[in-house]
Amino acid sequence: MKKAGFGLYAGLTLLMMAWGYYQAIYVAPTDAMQGEIFRIIFYHVPLFICAFLFFAISFSGSVGFLSFRHSRPEWAQIADAWALAGAEVGVVCCTNALILGSMWGRRAWGIWWTWDARLTTTLVLWLIYMSYLLMRRFAAGTQVQTLAAVLGIFGALDVPIVYMSNRWWRTQHPAPVFGGASGSGMDRSMAIPFVWNVFAWLAWGILLLAVRYLVERRQQRIAAAEAEQALAGHAVR
């Protein structure tokens, strides 16, 4: 039953992605100013929305881990699995969105990268979560989860700074299209395909997040069984 539900969700997600692609390429009109390169927005912005959402999940998981690590160890492990899954899928989305942004910048501005406020704060966010993942991968000991949770909380504090950066500092990156000053926004003919792509990417991201969470929970159970076995072996000796 669970497998069938998962398969159904995965199938629906793929259909949504295909529909989103159709909307982005065949329904949305070509931008009068930027031409076809503008269509990168249908992947670039939804990927950042996913990244921010997953970093928020990582933040919640980190807070949960720190709150429950003494009182309810099993809940703490579940929270930690969400924190790790959120951080990892968030980094995948953030990396992808940064690459697309760089390609878009190359065509729109003539440069691959600039130390603009939005780009720099996003790079810092990416570096923080990369260090989180590297610590989870290579550090050993009983305090790794606690240290990672603290880093995860501080990393998430950069998300509102990234979001506000092109409102606070007007540098190279364009002003916000949504929720910006008066006159900002997107024509309905582009906004509808955009919304479809946001939903499609969110569905895809949630699929990845769920799989990563299940992988981590299984890893925790294997580690616990191995530790139990090692202790039992030690007791026999």
Partner: protein, 49 residues
């Protein structure tokens, strides 16, 4: 179609292809991890017996 429009088109296609390579590559890696874990779970349960 002028030269700039052709390059824009190529960049857009490359951007979409790169995105799908990253996303599907990550999903494949998760699938690989899942299979490795299944093997590890079997090993742990065998040595328990």
């Amino acid at each position: 179609m002028d030269q700039a429009a052709i390059v824009d088109h190529q960049f857009r296609v490359a951007a979409y292809v790169i995105s799908w390579c990253i996303q599907l590559g990550y999903l494949a890696w998760l699938g690989y991890r899942w299979r490795v874990q299944k093997r590890d779970t079997d090993t742990v349960s065998r040595s328990r017996r």
